[in-house]
Symmetry: C2
Subunit: 224 residues, 2 copies
DNA sequence: ACACGATGTATTGTCAACAATATAGATGCC
DNA sequence: GGCATCTATATTGTTGACAATACATCGTGT
């Protein structure tokens, strides 16, 4: 299970940043809603100084949009933006999978397989695969990105992009039947990494994300 | 020529962010040097409030590192980090070139060719190709990324990564003889985009960045 | 009834003082 | 002499008040 907030957050702005990020991502703060500095400061019991820094950070990772003298709003992903994110993920995570195949140490590969076994169990039990889709999926992707050993890539994906992914899952609230299929794809990717087959790992990862995107596209079309 | 600072920067923190970013990227603030809030605030004639927001933003784009209760330092790119950035660029700009081949409007393609003609002139005149390497090269890459029409990708590259690229060029101060070769590669990429050959555009862009990286690797080896 | 402008209110941007933490230097001890 | 500890200083984190900007309300004229 991923820990989204480090627990050694020393400054107020870091703590509020992290809490507010989770609140946004989990939909407790509605998409598109305005963020009032005074109000948020009061709910957290802090002054506006550190709060504004937290808001800056949230804007930096793209979760809120800020306009000078006007204020900050939680972003509302359009379907176009959603697909953009998928395209970027395809490029970056494809690369991550390739690098992971080359750099991931044996014990981390074992951990990856453990994770997948847990996911298989959960899918067997959980009829509508809610857990897997919301949290387990990202768990897998996280581990691979971490395995790439490219710090810049890790920061890009784990610090910024994945929170947007989490946000859209709440915003669009999609629940496909892809759970079991996705798990199989995950297993094939993990196998390629285990054999240090970077080429194949990238190919499979790209196909996996593309399939996920195409699934979303279908659902978007069906929606209207 | 790229404009790095928008001129409608309404708030103090935005202005100081932009100025300081340029100062760091151009080496006027030494890599690794500590950033004193009081000092910087005084030189800009502002108070520490907005200055701290500017520092947060600089940390968000990765130009400085900040530790709670200790302070902020300008980053000092290790050669390993430099190569990481090249790898990420290869993936992202490869994708950008492919998308640009599909989405770039005709007039923008013409502009791209104009830029390359100007670069050819400059290389013919400027014996050591200083201009081209420092500024012209990024000019070309900027236009292609813009042509991808993927807003998230554009933000990723233009807002964050390119400033790191500019920084390393000052930090490592490399001056290779690749100018003319790079220009040729640029022309081939532009041609592929003009024919809407996305596959080829990506291939050529990746090769171009890879060649650039390998050149840097050679120079790093030669240095020690 | 509608458009435009003035006024008052709410919100954001900025500042200067205060609190908390870390760094540097001096002192004492082994 | 080297090391730990305590103290003084400098730097960062936080706060509440003030200034500037945007928004809503009301009024006026056509």
């Amino acid at each position: 299970m991923i820990k989204h907030c480090a627990d050694d957050l020393k400054t107020l702005s870091d703590r509020v940043f992290c809490h507010t990020r989770e609140a946004i991502v989990e939909g407790r703060i509605a998409p598109g809603s305005k963020i009032s500095e005074a109000e948020l400061a009061q709910t957290h019991g802090i002054s506006r100084g550190p709060l504004r820094e937290a808001i800056s950070q949230l804007a930096a990772i793209g979760l809120i949009e800020r306009k000078p003298n006007i204020g900050a709003r939680v972003i509302q992903l359009s379907s176009a933006q959603l697909l953009e994110i998928f395209h970027v993920r395809e490029a970056l995570e494809g690369m991550a999978a390739r690098q992971a195949a080359m750099n991931m140490p044996a014990d981390k590969v074992n951990q990856l397989h453990d994770t997948l076994r847990r996911h298989a169990d959960q899918i067997a039990q959980d009829a509508d695969h809610a857990y897997f889709q919301q949290s387990g999926d990202l768990d897998f992707h996280f581990q691979i990105v971490q395995g790439s050993a490219n710090q810049y890539l890790i920061k890009l994906l784990c610090r910024d992009l994945y929170h947007l992914v989490r946000l859209y899952r709440y915003q669009f609230g999609m629940r496909s039947k892809r759970g079991p299929i996705a798990l199989t794809e995950h297993q094939h990717i993990a196998d390629a990494i285990a054999r240090s087959d970077g080429e194949m790992a990238e190919l499979l990862m790209r196909a996996h994300i593309r399939a996920s995107r195409e699934n979303v596209e279908r659902m978007l079309r069906a929606e209207q």
